[in-house]
């Protein structure tokens, strides 16, 4: 905030003059990071809706996705879409393994929900440190997968990478919505999440639906991992902070609501990027949290309330 004094010498106040070009770039950056948050938040929301578990390891599943993608690329140079596919696969497998090996046995022992939530924190610690053993503690540079030349879109020069992230993110979310609305499996998952007993009576295996929920949630997170990795780096600790932010995004939209997670993620990405550009880089995370608390005060269940059971 101290730069107001100096701006007298530089002609018109520099801080206030945000060019349209900058605005478009910030908007695109916000949307891109927002898509990544949305993908992770979707998984968090799906898991909460199906099992009531606050899944704190979702960020680490995303990190495993990023690592799976970069490892596949090291083994054989391949186009970005294939790297993304490997990331999706890696995230999905990691998520299912964690569910089958840890949450399900804990659930069978009928431990309280809070214990399972803390166990997800344990999973997060284990995954981070296993990743550190396997992939080392240095950040890994993702290969340049896009043309680095600026892309001209409607008269503005924009980074093609950001555009691709937004396009791929939206495409994946669209595919998820289609899966939920048009396939038997997707509808069965929704049913099991809304009312487990009724679903059971309709012949749906709730246990299988839960595993499937973790699989889809992990795949979303894996995709987010590759997208985020391509934007910055891949590293063993990339997941935790991002996962927490995705949590906030999911809460913003309304925990357990699928459209809420999408909107919440985009909103949080935009808030973060714009407050970083306009207010202060050191407090950009705080702005997001203040918005979260204000929205929760006005609408305690978040922007989108979910039908069915109450949290």
């Amino acid at each position: 905030m101290g730069s107001y004094l100096g701006s007298d010498f530089g002609g018109p106040a520099r801080r206030t003059a945000v060019t349209t070009d900058q605005l478009v770039h910030t908007l695109l950056g916000g949307l891109a990071i927002g898509c990544i948050y949305s993908l992770i938040a979707l998984g968090i929301s799906m898991i909460i809706r199906a099992t009531e578990i606050l899944h704190f390891a979702q960020g680490e599943i995303m990190m495993i996705g990023a690592m799976a993608g970069i490892t596949a690329f090291w083994l054989a140079a391949m186009p970005f879409v294939l790297v993304l596919l490997f990331g999706i696969l890696g995230g999905g497998i990691a998520s299912v393994l964690v569910e089958l090996m840890i949450y399900r046995p804990l659930g069978r022992r009928r431990v309280p929900l809070l214990n399972i939530i803390i166990a997800t924190l344990g999973v997060s610690i284990v995954l981070q440190n296993v990743a550190r053993l396997v992939w080392g503690s240095e950040p890994l540079r993702y290969p340049t997968l896009f043309a680095s030349k600026g892309l001209v879109l409607a008269g503005f020069v924009v980074s093609p990478q950001l555009v691709w992230i937004v396009i791929l993110g939206v495409a994946i979310m669209g595919a998820l919505m289609a899966f939920f609305h048009f396939t038997r499996l997707g509808i069965a998952m929704q049913a099991a999440a809304q009312d487990a007993d009724a679903a059971r009576m309709m012949g749906i295996s709730v246990e299988r639906a839960t595993t499937l929920t973790f699989a889809v949630a992990g795949m979303m997170a894996g995709a987010a991992g590759v997208l985020l990795g391509s934007l910055f780096f891949a590293s063993f600790n990339m997941g935790f902070t991002t996962g927490i932010k995705a949590f906030v995004a999911a809460t913003l939209g309304g925990l357990g609501s699928v459209p809420g997670a999408m909107v919440g993620g985009l909103l949080f990405g935009l808030i973060e990027t714009f407050s970083g550009a306009l207010i202060s880089t050191s407090y950009k995370d705080a702005v997001g949290m203040i918005v979260l608390i204000l929205i929760l005060l006005l609408a305690p269940m978040g922007l989108f309330t979910r039908p069915g059971r109450q949290v």
């Binding site: 606050l54 431990v111 809070l114 997060s124 610690i125 809460t251 705080a286 203040i290």
Partner: protein
């Protein structure tokens, strides 16, 4: 209730407590290594933190992910007072608690949120407080932190040695235990338990739910602030990164490992969370993996945690012993 029953209740409660207290007090007599005393003091500070959170999570059933923030506020307050005015440490530690309690008033509006939303809101609060500690150089020294915190003195005598500080932490932990134990058995404590079991039923029974929850947040924050004050003298160097979201998680893990029902359980959990990384240090890179795995495995012990497990084991050992004893007498007969 007859007098004999009451005295029996008092002895069964107080004799084990005094035995444990004596055992903890004897530690510096046996262990002279100052490094380990330092770690044990930290475990006692952890116990204070965990007991404070136990009130929120274990009794009122409110999941708070921001306890680390109050710990930090207490630590920075105590350190600033000690550095600026050489204030006596009992005063600075109390001020740490009071400041944390005042800061917790900010949380009162969000108390009416439910379950997961409340948890995420406290998480957001913790992140905001951490960013303030990190960025407000004039207040906290920013990312460099706060150095040269003076040694604590009590009535002119220096209590900065490892053993002396250990006893200071022990006294504070014991006082906090007694105070929280009183609260747990008061009308207020019973109201909290009622809220955790069924909020609507509690409200219908005339309990002011939001007022009780707010009070609970304030007491927990005060306790965390006191622990923070102790930590300032214990570490003598404060860094914002000591008070991140991860610290809040650490405190929560302590409470849950120990079991969500009892104060001694919370203290036991603190001992494990502080000591486990030290004990596992020899396993090098595997240390944190083992710690995470330990957390997962301990979560399988149910809501009574390790404390419950120990009580169960003791009970089954006692019945086995009695059975053997009665079998012997029968054999003799």
């Amino acid at each position: 209730m007859t007098l004999s029953v009451m005295t029996a209740g008092v002895t069964t409660v107080w004799i084990p407590r005094l035995v444990v207290l004596a055992a903890i007090a004897a530690v510096p007599l046996v262990e002279h290594n100052s490094y380990w005393l330092h770690v044990f003091s930290l475990a006692l500070i952890g116990a204070v933190l965990a007991m404070g959170l136990q009130l929120l999570v274990g009794m009122a059933g409110v999941l708070s992910l921001g306890q680390g923030a109050f710990y930090g506020i207490g630590a920075y307050t105590a350190a600033s007072l000690a550095i600026a005015w050489q204030a006596p440490f009992i005063l600075t530690i109390l001020c740490g608690g009071v400041t944390a309690a005042i800061a917790s008033l900010l949380l009162i509006p969000i108390v009416r949120l439910k379950g997961s939303s409340l948890a995420v809101a406290t998480l957001g609060f913790g992140i905001i407080v951490h960013l303030v500690m990190l960025n407000e150089d004039w207040l906290t020294g920013g990312s460099i932190g706060m150095m040269d915190i003076p040694l604590p003195t009590l009535f002119g005598a220096n209590v900065g040695g490892e053993a002396a500080l250990y006893y200071v932490c022990l006294v504070v932990a014991a006082v906090v235990f007694l105070a929280l134990d009183r609260i747990a058995h008061s009308r207020f404590g019973r109201a909290l338990v009622a809220i955790s079991q069924d909020e609507e039923a509690a409200r219908a029974s005339g309990i002011a739910v939001n007022v009780c929850k707010s009070k609970c947040f304030i007491v927990a924050a005060f306790t965390a602030g006191v622990a923070g004050g102790l930590y300032a003298y214990h570490s003598r160097y404060l860094n914002p990164n000591d008070f991140t979201f991860l610290k809040s998680i650490d405190i929560l893990i302590m409470v849950v490992i120990g079991g969500l029902v009892s104060l001694p359980g919370a203290a036991l959990g603190a001992l494990i969370v502080v000591l486990a990384p030290e004990v596992l240090r020899s396993s090098g890179e595997l240390r944190l993996i083992l710690f995470g795995a330990l957390v997962i495995v301990l979560m399988g012990t149910g809501n009574r945690g390790l404390a419950g497990l120990i009580i169960d084991l003791a009970a089954s050992a006692r019945t086995a012993w009695q059975r053997r004893a009665s079998a012997k007498t029968e054999a003799k007969a």
